[in-house]
């Protein structure tokens, strides 16, 4: 039977984009189904409400929600719909996915991240597993992503610098904020090695995209210049130009059908008019971001897959990981500096682009020897002024503040200090208490069971997060920051999610094989962050892009 397309890709974010571009370039017919609308640079403005205050690029929670299961003091796990809690787990349902709204802090994993279990041994209560591929297998694709996405940066040798096949980044670093000088000085004094954070942001125009214009509003805002290397700006626009790739926005996939051999036959979706349609392809690629990918596969039951596609060994949805860590802030009071320095600190526009990886691996008796550590990055406080002022409407006793007192507080927060933040990224250990299943009661507006997410964490994650936070605080102290505060918690950041369909060599302990093909389905691949058995101690996006380019090569060879 002839198929409508060579490849049908479900989801257009960082996992979907590389496969779409590579196969379209190879002359294959590609269909991309995206649940959200097709917005472009012309639709993205620096709007304080659209960014962060309203659900504009994500669904209304009454239409589409999740159920979050948390552990209560009595040990029981209880779920609450995000429609009731307001805890939004969506990240960007538009063409290009949440890569439109990323900050684009881009890091590779280290070679050791590919075999953490062999390297550091097991940790009780954690399901740490080695990857079925090595850093060397992925390295060429990390490199490829640098030019295809447009990654800017500058390599500085340090003790945990990962090997590179090219000397340096294809684009120089983006412009830097004057506060960087103070960070570098403090790190030098402390003997820390401050590194330039690579960014998925063009520092000069290329590939039909403009350079960054440094408006000072980047992470969680859509990019108006095309400099940010979203899947849409960097990959899908080029895939369309080949004439072989079609993108269908507002197309919500509800099920992948399989035949009595267990192979995928067609994809069922609701189109923009809410009419149920079906499309067939030789190969289907799922890349809906980890939680929704597991949900779709769990919902896609068939004769050979009674518990969901690829779930014959009950691994689907298991070992979901987020990024563990914490964050903190220090304030720099302008009146404590000379006027020139104060004026420089006030600047908005250029980036901070600094990180520390001195403790990517920690060798410290206090931590019980050598353990996996993580990354600290520095950034200015989020630029949205409404969120900043909103935090001031309650005092430390949670009482409302209003009148002249509120005005004094707001004025002082805005005009007296520059706030430098740090974020800690460390491994969110995979455990039996962090997974995706289908909720048997709560449905979305199409009548499908929503994803239920159990969000348990491992205590070890907090220990590492605390250790790294203390190092970051040393930097802020060395810089003479005021009012330093931080928090480390086991609360999952919804935008840093992976796992659920880990890849491996054994069908009994993994969903995907090393090619990211579902073990017992001939023509079904997963190319978002779902494949990762462990997450590494950095944001995932570069690894997702790189792996998707790798899988694209594998699929290309088959077709």
């Amino acid at each position: 039977m002839s198929k409508d397309y060579d490849v049908c890709i479900i989801g257009s974010g960082a996992g979907g984009g590389p496969v779409a571009l590579e196969l379209a370039k190879a002359g294959k017919s590609v269909l991309v189904l995206e649940k959200g609308p097709w917005l472009t640079e012309k639709d993205f403005y620096k709007d304080e409400l659209a960014c962060c205050r309203r659900s504009v690029y994500t669904p209304q929670l009454e239409d589409e929600k999740h159920v979050i299961e948390e552990q209560y003091r009595d040990g029981s796990w209880q779920g609450e719909s995000t429609e009731d809690s307001g805890w939004d787990f969506w990240n960007g349902n538009v063409v290009g996915g949440s890569s439109n709204f990323m900050s684009g802090f881009f890091y590779r994993l280290k070679p050791e991240d590919f075999h953490l279990r062999s390297e550091f041994g097991s940790i009780e209560g954690a399901n740490i597993a080695d990857w079925p591929i090595s850093y060397d297998d992925l390295e060429p694709y990390y490199t490829k992503a640098e030019t295809e996405i447009g990654i800017s940066g500058q390599v500085k040798q340090h003790k945990y610098q990962e090997p590179r096949s090219t000397k340096d980044f294809p684009y120089p670093p983006t412009s830097e904020h004057p506060i960087v000088k103070h960070i570098d000085e403090a790190c030098d004094q402390l003997g820390f090695s401050s590194l330039k954070t690579p960014r998925a942001i063009l520092s000069k125009p290329d590939m039909g995209r403009k350079s960054c214009e440094y408006s000072g509003y980047c992470g969680s805002y859509g990019c108006s210049t095309g400099a940010k290397g979203s899947s849409r700006a960097a990959l899908l626009n080029r895939a369309i130009k080949t004439g072989n790739c079609k993108i269908l926005p507002n197309a919500k996939v509800v099920k992948i059908e399989s035949d009595n051999k267990g192979n995928v036959t067609s994809v069922k979706y609701f189109d923009e008019k809410n009419i149920k349609k079906s499309v067939s392809a030789k190969i289907v690629v799922v890349a809906c971001q980890a939680i929704e990918t597991s949900r779709l596969l769990l919902a896609s039951t068939g004769a050979k897959h009674p518990n969901g596609l690829g779930n014959n060994h009950n691994q689907l949805g298991k070992n979901l990981v987020f990024s563990a860590g914490g964050s903190g802030t220090g304030e720099f009071t302008y009146s404590k500096f000379d006027k020139l320095t104060a004026d420089q600190l006030k600047i908005r526009g250029p980036f901070v682009n600094r990180n520390l990886q001195d403790w990517y691996f920690i060798n410290d008796k206090k931590m019980g020897g050598t353990v996996k550590g993580g990354t600290i990055d520095f950034l200015l406080r989020h630029p949205n002024p409404i969120s900043k002022a909103m935090r001031l409407k309650r005092d430390e006793n949670d009482k409302l503040v209003w009148g002249k007192e509120l005005k004094r507080k707001i004025k002082s927060a805005f005009v007296s200090t520059q706030d430098l933040r740090f974020e800690v990224f460390n491994d969110w250990l995979p455990t039996d208490n962090c997974f995706v299943s289908l909720d048997n009661k709560v449905k979305d507006k199409w009548g499908s069971a929503v994803a239920k997410i159990r969000i348990g964490y491992h205590e070890h994650d907090l220990k590492v997060g605390e250790y790294l936070s203390q190092k970051a605080i040393k930097v802020l102290q060395q810089m003479n920051a005021d009012n330093i505060r931080y928090s480390v918690s086991g609360s999952p950041p919804a935008n840093l999610v992976a796992g659920g369909c880990r890849f491996g060599n054994d069908i009994k302990t993994s969903v995907l094989n090393k090619d990211c093909k579902v073990h017992d389905v001939d023509n079904l691949y997963v190319t978002d962050g779902s494949f990762m058995p462990t997450g590494g101690s950095v944001p995932y996006t570069w690894t997702i892009y790189a792996n998707s380019f790798r899988v694209a090569d594998i699929i290309k060879k088959r077709l």
């Binding site: 639709d43 504009v56 307001g86 408006s215 000072g216 509003y217 609701f270 409302l400 209003w402």
Partner: protein, 193 residues
């Protein structure tokens, strides 16, 4: 991207229960009825809300107050947007009823007729109930939004709030046809079940 200002349904039912316990049933019922039948062109509850806004965010010699930042119009415009939360709309209306009922009981006056000290006292009293606190918190939220959101949404006229706080907005700024709820509307035009 949660809109954390919105009440969730479960919490709202709890607030209503608290409110019913804290206020005479008759006054709650009447204010609810009033709220649901109110037209935006009628002076109340807007007259009271405007006075509360001015108290919460007063104008001073060198800094803008609620009327300078168009706080009332901003709130009205937001409440007129598609998908504005129904429970929040009811809460905003109901709060006016609670406030004026309390003012009448204690002073035989409505809120706008009170002097500044009495206004402060009665608002702090309103704050002491959960529902009252939630009402005031909601008004503060929209005041802060009116102070710092893009002028295209009708608060912060000519960037008066940004100027006061030496805040540098980003660029490009949203235009009339790119207001967030228009983008959202386009998106859901076809897909609403």
């Amino acid at each position: 991207m949660a809109n954390t200002t919105l009440l969730n349904r479960r919490e709202f039912m709890r607030l209503l229960a608290t409110a019913a316990a804290a206020y005479p049933l008759s006054s709650l019922a009447s204010s609810r009825q009033q709220a649901l039948t109110l037209d935006h062109t009628i002076k109340e509850p807007w007259r009271t809300i405007s006075a509360v806004q001015e108290h919460l965010f007063p104008a001073e010699k060198n800094s803008p107050g609620a009327s300078d930042i168009n706080a009332l119009q901003y709130l009205q415009n937001m409440m007129a947007t598609p998908d504005f939360d129904t429970e929040q709309r009811i809460l905003i209306h109901n709060g006016v009823g609670w406030l004026n009922d309390l003012a009448k009981k204690q002073h035989a006056k409505i809120f706008i007729q009170l002097d500044t000290d009495s206004k402060e006292k009665i608002l702090r009293q309103v704050e002491s109930s959960n529902a009252g606190s939630r009402w005031l918190s909601t008004l503060l939220t929209y005041l802060i939004e009116a102070l710092l959101s893009d002028p295209v949404y009708s608060g912060n006229p000519n960037g008066i709030g940004w100027d006061w706080l030496q805040h540098q907005p980003g660029f490009p700024l949203p235009t009339e046809d790119k207001k967030y709820f228009k983008m959202r509307k386009n998106r859901y035009r076809h897909t609403k079940a």
